[in-house]
Symmetry: C2
Subunit: 344 residues, 2 copies
């Protein structure tokens, strides 16, 4: 490939001069500038970014680490879109890499690899699947030790409040259940995601908290899970609930996807929604609005969490004090036809 030396030779100047015009540094006469640009054009010269970064000791690169296996989540694609845009605006190169979401050690290894390539800052989306001992401590220590800022998405680090943004999934599920209760429901079932997921456990707890606070019966047989945390799992779980022949007027589901599966199971069993049973999803997936009936849900501010993370990272990179205060986000009710009021 053509190097800066080739350009310098073609023009008859030194590398330093070529470098200076490239970086508009120092004083260079208009004539040589022109000649240099001409040669660059002719030779189709492009600087080797690796060499530049090594020499300058900055890479102007942001690293983004995403978890694998999120085929169904809009979070990740949105995260990529928004972070790329942020990087473009800040004049940084975005280097995205993916890591198995189930293993925190692999995650830390990947973060280190990003550092080895001299990223100036890193955003790490922590998969809900990870739940190992001491993970909080590991991440907090990592943030201390790393030579560049690391912002963690989707996890609470109490000792590093300026380095994380997360959803309060307990509150998100509560929102749905409280709404059901306010509308007269007392016998509320819950379809749960798989319990190895942090998000899943938090949402289940939100359901339980809301029931307790309202003084309603907490029957573990009103809670069911399925083979996965998606359509099929919702379908499975709902069939279980139906088989148990319990009395319930509403189901809150771990996600819209599970709610869609549940809806199918209910229909197959001749149970009308919302006439016989009301359904609530969580996440406000776009498709929920196109179900029959459309599914009520809690909208989760995905864009907000990402833009806050981006803002935090840039502030740290510029050694500014972070301006963001609330790094814990909840959601917003979205009413659709899958829930009916119960009047005694």
């Amino acid at each position: 490939m053509v190097t800066i030396l080739d350009v310098a030779r073609q023009v008859g100047v030194s590398k330093a001069t070529v470098s200076n015009v490239l970086n508009s540094k120092g004083r260079v006469s208009e004539a040589t500038k022109k000649a240099v640009f001409k040669a660059i054009e002719e030779l189709d010269y492009r600087p080797n970014v690796l060499a530049q970064s090594l020499s300058k000791q900055v890479s102007d690169t942001i690293g983004l680490l995403i978890p694998s296996g999120y085929h169904t989540s809009r979070y990740i694609t949105r995260l990529i879109d928004m972070t790329q845009e942020l990087a473009n605006k800040a004049g940084k190169f975005l280097m995205i890499t993916q890591v198995d979401g189930n293993d925190i050690e692999l995650g830390i290894q990947s973060i280190r690899k990003l550092i080895d390539r001299r990223c100036d800052g890193i955003i790490y989306y922590k998969s809900s699947h990870i739940e190992e001992i001491d993970i909080q401590n590991k991440l907090e220590t990592l943030i201390e030790e790393l030579p560049v800022p690391l912002v963690v998405l989707n996890y609470n680090l109490p000792n590093k409040p300026d380095y994380c943004v997360w959803f309060d999934h307990v509150a998100i599920a509560q929102l749905a259940v409280v709404n059901l209760i306010e509308r007269g429901h007392k016998k509320i079932a819950y379809i749960s995601g798989q319990q190895h997921m942090h998000t899943s456990r938090a949402r289940l707890q939100g359901y339980q908290d809301a029931m307790k606070k309202a003084g309603l019966e907490l029957n573990s047989r009103l809670i069911a899970g399925g083979s996965d945390s998606h359509y099929q799992g919702g379908y499975d779980a709902c069939k279980k609930l139906i088989k148990r022949e319990l009395d319930f007027s509403a189901i809150c589901c771990y996600s819209d996807a599970m709610a869609i599966g549940a809806l199918k199971a209910l229909k197959e069993n001749g149970i009308s929604v919302p006439e016989d049973v009301s359904i609530f999803g969580l996440d406000n997936d776009y498709v929920g609005d196109f179900m029959d009936p459309p599914i009520s849900s809690i909208d989760v501010p995905v864009d907000d969490i990402i833009s806050i993370a981006g803002k935090l990272l840039l502030e740290h990179m510029q050694n500014k004090l972070p301006t963001s205060k609330s790094n814990s986000l909840t959601g917003q009710l979205v009413h659709r036809k899958s829930v009916k009021d119960i009047i005694d």
Copy 2:
């Protein structure tokens, strides 16, 4: 940060020796090896990959370029998952970056940026949205000029058959329409995606070809599009079709997403599926199976196209002759309840 020199000094050897033990090159006594590893551990030394790449003149890095704005597609997440796995297995670092899918010039710029960082090979997923003059020529020329192999996904480059893999969307749509015809349908409507998309135009053409071949009437009023190529667009388009008060027994849709929107519109108008009208989607999105009724579709071999692309890239990188012959893929019928047979 700690450098190789720090390690060398701590052990009392030269940088060359440290480098040799790190790369297990040359003969180094066990004793110094041990001492070096100990120092590396103690100092938490990690080689600067930028410096390594510059010196070695290889980076062991693969670049993956994805389009933005694919919030709804499972292709992209799958592409990331599979390419990452491929890179891991090949011992390469995967550097993913994203670019506005609408502009081929931006795409080429991003490819160049990847080269500037010395990627040893690049996979470029060409968005269907791009459709500019001369794009085929631009990409073919780029492949010629680039110092490393570039494989293009989702686009046909007739003069570079070993550097591209794509879906034959004409054939994919034909498959659905031919199946409807075989099952007795004659009046078949089509809900189209937005025509600025290459995929969208190809699928529409597949519908038209199939109708023509069967000697069926091609009525342009049986074709409708919507505000987007997704749920809402399908809903809009179907409402248009209904308003036109034409006689049709089936609708083939550009995608499952549009089919889901269409289903909603039909239901709202008291039209039963499949009793009154049959519906066909394309893509075989997972959610289609959870509709009421489940939607027939054409499964598109996403995984295949990606693994072929990966194989091609690695073969080029190793200067092997590509073994893959068929770089054009079609789909497979998936029968569900949204289509009924018509018996005269």
